[in-house]
């Protein structure tokens, strides 16, 4: 028997996956021939900076990196500050979804601090183009699959990348799922929650928690709408403390039941919510050392002012945006910013992005890309403009469906990014790249392969080297060690002994088999380095 989505009301753990939908007709590989052992020593790893893209200015910082590789090798790469040429790419991956060449040009021209300010002061950048483009798709936001597509395309097309990234961060913390939001009449609640998180992404933590407590999707998802004056439901009260604000160890089961009583009074009214004081439990509660006829405002106020809250919250932020397992010293400036700014998340994020830790070599490529970062990042980097209709099912197979986290704790990979990667999700990543390059992400119709010849012509790519360097410049910050660059070039120029097929002609007049040219780009995006954020 099957379970429909509203019935499987599951804030914890897996659930039916959509039937796997290969983006490309499935054709498993026959056993490959084994490659010859590579003759390469550690000493030969020398960074090369990509050239060939005017305006990206990769060369200067690249030289700095070369020095690192040469002196002391890789060990030193993970200490000290990041080379400036890598900084913008790093910033846009973490505070956004990666960059296409135009993004890099725009943000590099502002300098690092200017780039951070542009990201934070997102109101100053128009996103009308994205809105128009989304409107033109006529998506039905009452349908979960289209909700997913709507948000992923926002991320891919936005000129306000940090706003979308921050919204995604909040979604992973203060999370709800369309699996348990009231079924068909309630699906729109997910969009309402999403708009709330977006419009308050940099607000005070107090306002964010107050809003999410009253949020219709959350009221349904964690059963606060079912909680009554005489029979308070514990679900929201527990997760509010364990997962949203304090963490385990800072409250007791007694605090859970008392908070549950204090939080009563909220009700759903269709797609909105209402607080009815007469339905609030008016007894005296004792909650985290505070006594009185506490209500939801008191509970939130007590939590956001609890000494554990800023540490809990900034640990999540730091882990998500910088690197895992931060030290107390790493977090202290963020905790101070939280307290001094009256819990303002914009101030905390500015402190985070401008911190030496954020721009440290230790933070560089320190996380595995999440499925959303990987899928949206590739889509954005290659300037794909199709309707993205297969994006939702592909990201699901990679292990992440927005609006459908695996549990109320969000995605485990947000905390420990290595959890995103296993044999199955790795192959899905590869197949996604294959799909983008070979047929595009629109469902049905004739394939719309990635227009390589157009790029070659527009960018005047006149040699295999310039081709590889062009894509490495914005996909890998212009950095790949020389031996590995040679591997890509060898593949590009290797003979295709089969019958002649399609070709790509570089601007020097030389033609290469489509399989090799497209394959070289595939290899860059399937490479170990490209899996990292």
């Amino acid at each position: 028997m099957s379970i429909d989505p509203d019935m499987q009301d599951d804030p914890t753990q897996p659930r039916p996956r959509p039937a796997s939908q290969p983006a490309v007709p499935s054709s498993p590989l026959p056993p490959p021939r084994r490659a010859a052992k590579l003759q390469m020593s550690r000493r030969e790893f020398i960074g090369v900076s990509a050239i060939g893209l005017a305006g990206l200015g990769a060369a200067a910082g690249g030289a700095g990196l070369d020095q690192w590789w040469r002196h002391g090798g890789l060990g030193n790469l993970f200490h000290g500050p990041l080379a400036s040429s890598m900084q913008t790419g790093h910033l846009l991956r973490r505070a956004g979804f990666g960059a296409n060449p135009d993004d890099l040009t725009t943000y590099r021209s502002l300098g690092f601090n200017g780039a951070v300010e542009r990201l934070l002061n997102y109101q100053q950048t128009s996103d009308d183009d994205m809105e128009h483009r989304l409107n033109a798709l006529n998506l039905d936001l009452n349908r979960p699959q289209e909700q997913v597509r709507w948000w992923l395309l926002r991320m891919a097309w936005t000129q306000r990348p940090l706003l979308e990234k921050m919204t995604l961060f909040w979604h992973g913390v203060l999370t709800s799922s369309f699996r348990k939001v009231g079924g068909r009449p309630g699906f729109m609640r997910m969009i309402i929650q999403n708009q709330f998180l977006r419009s308050h992404a940099f607000d005070t933590f107090d306002n964010i928690l107050l809003g999410i407590t009253a949020d219709p999707a959350m009221l349904f998802y964690l059963d606060l709408a079912k909680s009554t004056r005489t029979a308070p439901n514990e679900n929201y009260a527990r997760e509010l403390m364990e997962l949203f604000s304090l963490g385990l160890g800072h409250y007791t089961q007694q605090d859970v039941t008392q908070a549950a009583a204090a939080l009563t009074g909220w009700h759903l009214r269709g797609l909105t919510s209402v607080y009815l004081p007469q339905t609030h439990n008016n007894l005296t509660k004792v909650f985290l050392g505070h006594t009185g006829n506490l209500n939801y405002k008191d509970v939130i106020n007590i939590l956001t002012n609890h000494p554990a809250a800023p540490w809990f919250l900034t640990r999540k932020l730091f882990t998500y945006f910088t690197y895992e397992n931060p030290s107390t010293d790493d977090l202290k400036p963020l905790v101070d910013a939280y307290v001094q700014s009256g819990h303002n998340m914009g101030t905390v994020m500015r402190t985070l992005l401008l911190s030496p830790q954020f721009s440290s070599a230790k933070a560089y490529q320190a996380r595995i890309k999440s499925p959303v970062e990987f899928a949206v990042g590739a889509y954005r980097a290659l300037n794909i403009h199709d309707d993205g209709s297969t994006l939702p099912s592909i990201t699901t197979l990679m292990g992440q469906t927005v609006f459908d986290p695996p549990s109320v704790a969000g995605w485990p990979g947000d905390k420990v990014s290595s959890l995103w990667l296993n044999s199955g999700t790795w192959m899905t990543r590869l197949n996604y790249i294959d799909a983008i390059l070979v047929r595009g992400l629109a469902r049905g119709g004739s394939p719309r392969p990635f227009d390589l010849q157009g790029i070659v012509n527009a960018q005047n790519l006149n040699s295999p080297e310039s081709f590889v360097d062009y894509f490495v410049s914005f996909l890998l910050d212009g950095h790949i060690d020389s031996a590995r660059r040679t591997q890509l070039l060898d593949y590009f120029t290797s003979r295709d002994t089969s019958a002649p097929g399609a070709h790509i002609t570089l601007t020097n007049g030389q033609s290469y088999p489509l399989s090799r040219v497209r394959g070289a780009l595939y290899l860059i995006m399937a490479s170990p380095e490209y899996q990292l954020n």
Partner: protein
């Protein structure tokens, strides 16, 4: 394709002589297989045809409405709307019975191959889903453990044989129980998705591109971020997808599996067992058990999925002559509060029953159902059986492993499996 040990070694030797790219984890495996072949070793084969299937019931399964103490008036008193009437319950004995939708399991019980371990928990049980899940999977009672108990078990096995399917996890994310510092478990969401697609422009079927890609992984500096993870993931996938697809093409299930991902996952596991992929530990998750509100319908549907899936899986194995070699064990991070809440649901609880089934399993109720009259201060059951004693039993008496090593201590055992 049946992959005999011998065929694998032969393959391994051929591969070695060809001087292929071979990351350390795999070359160790081939070397050890080589040594075993030369010594004609039998010791490494002990219990090697035995498989453990672990079923996670995620969200906190309501144990009291799974194995029901129908004869206890307190049960009906504390569950005025959610309690199941005596007439609905599938009676096992004079005091306990199964949820009506678990009827397919009653057949396995009647055949003598189903054990129920009652009252399973641990000291100071956590009411947090996530801490409780961590504890069940890593056995670190502080909830801060990283390595899973099954990960510890299979990491050695994978290294010995270099065989990708010693363990197999169904899903998109590897279960924490299977996480390991030095091995990676193939994680399969579906057979069709478990493959690398080729570019139709590639006239050699994608061989050259895949070879170039494996070179990029093999030459990725070992000190670079996530080097070991990336390297083993790629190898695991490249090797495993070929084997799984060869297997899948030849597998004929002997039953019709129910629809849905849980049963589909069990079918992949059956396939790996029947086709001889060398599976030792299989893992599959059924989620949706966190029934704070409107529990009856949800829980009933889940009970049906569980029983119908397991019943199909077991029957498939019986018909393929493999049921003697497989033991299935279920677990959930906690049971639920004895007294129902005001939302027609139940809140987080503690002790709950586990199912163990297979031809090698002795039928019966093991352990003791927790008393409904002697609850803890939160109104939850007091556990009577430590979950680690159940793990220990499976490890020592079924897997031929040392439970002391895997679990880091001695926790006793239960008698649902005979002493070897």
């Amino acid at each position: 394709m049946k992959l005999s040990r011998r065929a694998m070694i032969k393959d391994g030797l051929l591969v070695v002589s060809a001087g292929m790219v071979m990351p350390a984890i795999f070359s160790r495996g081939v070397a050890s297989a080589n040594v075993q072949a030369l010594e004609g070793s039998h010791s490494a084969q002990v219990a090697s045809d035995r498989t453990l299937i672990v079923v996670q019931m995620a969200g906190g399964n309501d144990g009291l409405n799974t194995v029901i103490p129908f004869a206890d008036p307190l049960y009906h008193q504390m569950r005025p709307t959610l309690g199941l009437a005596d007439a609905q319950v599938v009676h096992l004995d004079t005091r306990l019975g199964l949820h009506p939708n678990l009827a397919p399991l009653k057949q396995i019980w009647d055949a003598g191959h189903l054990a129920i371990v009652e009252g399973v928990g641990y000291p100071s049980q956590s009411l947090s889903h996530f801490q409780a899940m961590d504890i069940w999977q890593t056995l670190d009672l502080s909830g801060n453990g990283r390595e899973g108990w099954l990960g510890k078990l299979v990491s050695g096995l994978v290294d010995q044989d270099g065989h990708p399917f010693k363990a197999l996890d169904i899903g998109v994310q590897t279960a924490q129980a299977l996480s390991s510092i030095n091995a990676q478990v193939p994680t399969v969401s579906s057979v069709p998705a478990y493959s690398v697609y080729r570019d139709p422009a590639d006239r050699d079927g994608g061989n050259a591109r895949m070879q170039a890609l494996m070179n990029l992984y093999n030459s990725y500096p070992k000190t670079a971020p996530y080097a070991a993870l990336l390297d083993t993931t790629a190898l695991n996938a490249e090797e495993g997808s070929r084997q799984l697809h060869q297997t899948d093409a030849q597998y004929q299930p002997a039953v019709t599996y129910p629809t849905g991902p849980f049963a589909a996952g069990l079918k992949v596991l059956a396939e790996a067992i029947v086709q001889g992929l060398g599976l030792r530990v299989g893992y599959v998750t059924l989620g949706g058990f966190d029934t704070h509100a409107n529990q009856q319908q949800t829980h009933g549907a889940l009970m049906a999925m569980l029983a119908n899936g397991l019943s199909a899986f077991y029957t498939d194995l019986v018909k393929h002559g493999k049921a003697d070699n497989v033991v299935v064990m279920t677990w959930s991070e906690f049971g639920r509060r004895v007294e129902e809440n005001g939302s027609l649901g139940t809140d987080h609880g503690t002790a709950a029953p586990m199912f163990v089934l297979g031809n090698a399993v002795s039928k019966g109720i093991f352990g003791e159902p927790s008393s409904l009259s002697n609850l803890d201060s939160n109104g939850n059951l007091k556990y009577t059986v430590d979950f680690r004693s159940v793990y220990a039993t499976v490890l020592d008496r079924w897997m031929g492993a040392s439970s002391k090593d895997v679990l880091g201590g001695s926790f006793g055992s239960q008698n649902f499996l005979l002493q070897p």
